[in-house]
Symmetry: C2
Subunit: 437 residues, 2 copies
């Protein structure tokens, strides 16, 4: 390959953005396509979903991030398909963008293990829109419970289930428990938000399976202290609006959130080559898609086997390291003709946050839990946030929340109307009550 | 009237909230109904629409504001009608809430002088949803222009018209001009955002008609320095998607915003009594609706005649003063049997912001302009924002923007898809270009 090559990156997440930055620094022409105008700092997305942060706090315009690189173009559009033979990326508006080198970094979507009908009743958390929707529905459950009169309906509405005991599930459960127990506690008249039932369901034997057993136990113990009910070794077998089935038992719920699994972005299939069980593109050690000369994949959409033959986990640090690596490797390849360099992953440790003062961190044999892990997590995440403004704002909000248990982003979107939610029983009972008022 | 009375307030804007707070302080039972869960600090809404602030920065949960008053109930629901004879407020979900005293504080909506078909192509700015929509469409116009190739289409997309030269129109024009000239300037490759045409159309002879001529001239001069084209004595006679007609001439536009007029909230009509030319309820000097014993109206939905017989303007300070007044007057009436007290408006001065360092302030003969007015405006608005957190966050964001011209909330909502906007000509031209890429 020699310049000028048409290099197209699809996806401006951690992986795609790092590739763009590295190529941009080398002055190589590149087009980065994304269906959002912003890069999203996904590790903090659960805080938008639980009303602790505003959406713009963790979203940065892609254009602004790459504006210092004049050879980098940003195309705001949605990729609908790939014409591999014609070497074209097809946009949903009918346009086609030619490429010589294609870099796919389109990430992942919630994965429902073949139960795609569950997507409508149990949203996952991947985009700003997901987070805003979850925030609205979460706050709405309490609002409708406040207007309901019969205790059964109130209890059902104030039962929030989270499916999946990995870091996202643990973070959501902890944050929702704190929201109900501290932030909302004094704001209602007919209900006691602190009595909300938060249920965390994990199909495996313990929470945080990627961590050591000791840290799993700590996380479970801390969540229980926040009032979270943990169900392990329980598989979900039914999900409908307002009802959750676990191991044959049915539970009335106000909201169910999905954190049990992800699948590769559907665009991976469009390449027309073999994918793994999660739909990921299998890449060689240089991040090139197996069997393809000019298509690369990285981040959550790629299956990169480590030394033991297992795929690397879907973590921001994996995506970021792969992005930096591929960017530099490709830049040297294109400008100096050097061979592509094999990628090696260096884990910087795993972390999960449970609540105030409570987090776990593990890197190999090094394990920390409690407030030191929490503080380290907070400092690292503020540091990692792109853009100085976001860092300052997020710090201020965190300090504020830390001091007061208050949350600043309790906004219910108007699109989510209050009348849309309560079941028929709740509605008739409510009317009766208000007639008496 | 004697306690216990069922007091219902509809609307938690500046007016309704002040009534609720005053009655809450007096320990009187009251229900405040709003179709949003938040109180909105409307004077800063244009900053959300122009990507300078996040929506949650200027929205505060109503429950949180009144939580210290145990006798105050918040009902999150939409009022669809009023059954005056049955003394019931009818909610859109079918419920009915009985009242003995009804206080209407439902504010205003954009008013199109009978041209309601213009609402779809020229959004006004009243709610968080309006602001987010305008922000998305504004940023989207530049994104689509970036992808267009023919200069005519680009010029059309980058023509933003604002109809109405009052404070809102001036603030929008100034803020959009700064956004295009400073914030977006370096972020695009094919267009020069700083060359965007911002047109401010005013049907009357000058901008800011409520201010003195000297300050009007200053505002016009400052806006022109920012590149805003001002058309006075020009009435809009045509509005369609992408086209604006002024005094017989047609101008291609990327976006038209409506700041030319407001009308009372449609709920005013539901009372079934006489309203003025803007649909406002005519109230006596105690804010009681004319001819009604137990219905009050205040803020933008009320027509309160001043000493000269002219209605008070639709300003936050009018709403707030009326709310505080009615709250105290009604509390004494209900608890001590005192007669209702006539309301007197005390103007704290009018202000409008044009841009960095540029604002006008006028109170009677006292007039200020320039950076002193701007600083006073900034301090006052931060102070007025409800909730300490918002104040801190907004201060930080303003300081940041002041130092860098940067904006933190440049988020295009995914609901607004890029393919939805360009006209048929633009789309075909774009495709041609990308085929060549």
């Amino acid at each position: 390959m020699q310049q000028p090559q048409r290099i197209v990156i699809v996806g401006a997440g951690f992986a795609g953005l790092e590739v763009a930055k590295a190529l941009g620094k080398a002055g190589i022409d590149v087009t980065i396509i994304d269906r959002h105008n912003h890069h999203l700092f996904q590790p903090l997305l659960y805080q938008v979903a639980t009303a602790a942060l505003s959406a713009p706090d963790i979203a940065e315009p892609i254009r602004r991030i790459v504006r210092r690189y004049p050879s980098t173009k940003v195309l705001f559009g949605e990729v609908a398909g790939i014409d591999r033979d014609g070497r074209r990326v097809l946009l949903s508006d009918g346009e086609a963008i030619r490429y010589d080198v294609l870099i796919l970094a389109t990430g992942s979507v919630p994965g429902y293990f073949g139960r795609d009908d569950w997507a409508a009743v149990s949203p996952g958390l991947k985009t700003i829109e997901d987070a805003r929707k979850i925030r609205s529905e979460l706050l709405l459950a309490f609002e409708i419970a406040e207007r309901a009169t019969d205790p059964v309906t109130q209890e059902r509405l104030m039962t929030i289930a989270i499916i999946g005991g990995g870091p996202t599930g643990v973070e959501l459960a902890g944050s929702i428990a704190e929201l109900s127990r501290y932030t909302l506690a004094r704001d209602f008249r007919n209900i006691r938000p602190e009595s909300a039932r938060i249920i965390l369901v994990e199909a495996g034997p313990r929470l945080l399976p990627a961590f050591s057993e000791k840290l799993s136990e700590y996380a479970a113990e801390r969540l229980q202290r926040l009032g979270v009910k943990i169900l392990t070794n329980k598989a979900v077998d039914h999900l409908s609006d307002g009802e959750l089935g676990i191991a044959g038992e049915r539970i009335g719920v106000g909201l169910v959130l999905w954190a049990a699994g992800v699948a590769a972005s559907p665009l991976a299939r469009e390449v027309g080559v073999e994918t793994d069980w999660l739909g990921r593109l299998i890449v060689d050690d240089t991040l090139r898609v197996r069997g393809e000369e000019n298509i690369f994949a990285l981040g959550d959409v790629a299956h990169f086997a480590d030394a033991d033959g297992r795929p690397l986990p879907g973590l921001a640090q994996v995506a970021k390291q792969q992005g930096m690596h591929l960017g530099h490797s490709l830049a040297r390849h294109l400008t100096h003709g050097d061979a592509l360099v094999p990628f090696t992953y260096r884990s910087r440790g795993n972390t999960a946050i449970i609540g105030r003062h409570a987090a776990v961190f593990e890197q190999g044999r090094f394990k920390v839990k409690g407030w030191i892990a929490w503080l380290a997590w907070a400092i690292i995440h503020i540091y990692l946030l792109i853009g100085f403004q976001s860092r300052v704002l997020v710090s201020v909000q965190w300090l504020w929340r830390y001091a007061t248990y208050d949350r600043g982003a309790r906004l219910i979107a108007r699109e989510t109307t209050p009348k849309a939610r309560p079941g028929p029983k709740a509605a008739s009972r409510k009317r009766k009550r208000h007639e008496k008022t």
